[in-house]
């Protein structure tokens, strides 16, 4: 198996050095999804977030991203102010990938890399690392589920940010790309990044785990 090429350089300024959850609880639609969830993740560490369907994995990721309010508890990003951390320090890749079916992969990747503050060179490197170059001129609607997920993942490499929040990142990927994305995740950790990933299958890299109980 050929590993992905041109991996991103290590991360610069605005480092999130820690992700801290203290006694977090989330209530959605009047139902308490979970409570008392705590996590202390340091730079270079990955955490696999597991639990049955509906246990609140996606909600927890969205709460870290600041899109969902906690019922109780708190979320900290080391020394960084939460607004600053969420504004430029984290990436969220979920089921709703924000890609517009009628636009080409190139248009979408270019826009999201510029929106994330990434350089053009990094965008091209990301496209190469995820082997998207031959697909760039296709409309997003023509991509398969796995290719589309790779495009969503490429956005993270195109605009490097320390904390990756991934919602079942591996599910549409084939075996080769599960391994390939594992290598990319490992490289991200080696550069001082942090990963919190909701998964059903184990992550292909060494990781801690946090289980939500429904």
């Amino acid at each position: 198996m050929r590993g992905p090429k041109n991996l991103p350089k290590s991360l610069d300024h605005r480092l999130i050095t820690q992700l801290l959850l203290r006694d977090a609880a989330i209530r959605r639609g009047g139902r308490l999804l979970f409570e008392g969830v705590s996590l202390d993740l340091a730079a270079g560490e990955a955490c696999a977030l597991t639990g049955p369907n509906g246990s609140g994995k996606t909600s927890l990721l969205r709460a870290v991203a600041g899109l969902v309010r906690l019922e109780a508890g708190e979320i900290g990003f080391g020394r960084l102010d939460p607004a600053e951390a969420r504004g430029g320090g984290l990436h969220l890749v979920g089921h709703a990938d924000g890609l517009k079916a009628a636009r080409t992969a190139r248009e979408e990747l270019t826009f999201w890399s510029r929106w994330g503050g990434g350089a053009h060179a990094a965008m091209l490197e990301a496209a190469e690392a995820l082997e998207l170059v031959p697909l760039l001129d296709l409309e997003v609607r023509r991509l398969s589920a796995g290719q589309r997920r790779r495009l969503a993942l490429a956005r993270m490499l195109a605009a490097p940010r320390p904390l990756w929040l991934l919602d079942e990142p591996l599910s549409p990927l084939d075996a080769r790309w599960r391994e390939g994305f594992g290598a990319l995740m490992q490289r991200h950790l080696d550069g001082g990044g942090l990963i919190l990933a909701a998964v059903h299958d184990p992550l292909p890299i060494p990781s801690r785990s946090l289980e939500l109980i429904a």
Partner: protein
């Protein structure tokens, strides 16, 4: 700046694809200019009397057409989440979205307004003022419309709800612009109505994004 220029380019092309662009605008006015004489009768003076008003009302209604999907698509496909995860304040993002909406739909509609009015029999001397009113009015319609579109996020019949929220807020610019045009036509001072239209548009640009951002945050959480 690179972020905002990328966003305005994206929003303009997306709005263009959602039902903007010169062809749609001209098609809409062609419809109005064709149907009115059929419905009202072909008497020239009767049509000329209502020509500017008809073009003005057509502009307000045409602005409604593409509003529904302004935030809805980004909300459904997750792009709104990602737009939020940025150092750019959501208020500014909303402002740029409305500006893109106006560039793709409001500006072409403003170009079509004098053509439609003259085709219905309005005096050609009115054309510059109709165009100016339509430009300013279009800004007000885009920014007020954005509030309605953001407030109806997640609602089942979003388009209908948007129209119900937005139409009462479209009334002042319709009155101010229509008044300015009627006064100009009959040789009365018209700058007052025009200035009020400009003030309304400026207020919409200033306060609309605050309301839109609050509505978007509320829809997401």
């Amino acid at each position: 700046m690179s972020r905002l220029s990328a966003l305005i380019a994206r929003e303009t092309t997306l709005a263009w694809g959602r039902g903007g662009g010169p062809l749609v605008a001209l098609g809409f006015y062609a419809g109005v200019a064709t149907f009115l004489p059929l419905a009202i009768g072909p008497q020239h003076d009767r049509l000329a009397a209502i020509a500017t008003g008809a073009a003005w009302v057509a502009l307000a209604l045409a602005s409604l057409l593409s509003l529904e999907r302004m935030f809805e698509r980004d909300y459904e496909d997750g792009a709104l989440d990602l737009l939020l995860l940025s150092p750019v304040p959501l208020e500014l993002t909303c402002l740029v979205k409305c500006a893109g909406q106006w560039l793709a739909t409001g500006a072409p509609l403003a170009l079509g307004a004098p053509v439609a009015a003259i085709a219905l029999g309005a005096s050609p001397t009115l054309a510059p003022l109709i165009f100016a009113c339509a430009l300013l009015g279009g800004i007000a319609f885009s920014f007020i419309g954005g509030i309605g579109a953001a407030l109806s996020l997640g609602a089942r019949r979003g388009g209908l709800l948007t129209a119900v929220i937005v139409l009462p807020l479209f009334v002042p610019p319709v009155i101010f612009g229509g008044g300015a045009l009627a006064n100009f036509e009959s040789g009365l001072p018209w700058t007052g109505g025009f200035a009020f239209l400009g003030a309304y548009a400026a207020a919409a640009v200033a306060f609309g994004p605050l309301a839109m951002a609050a509505a978007c945050r509320n829809a997401l959480s």
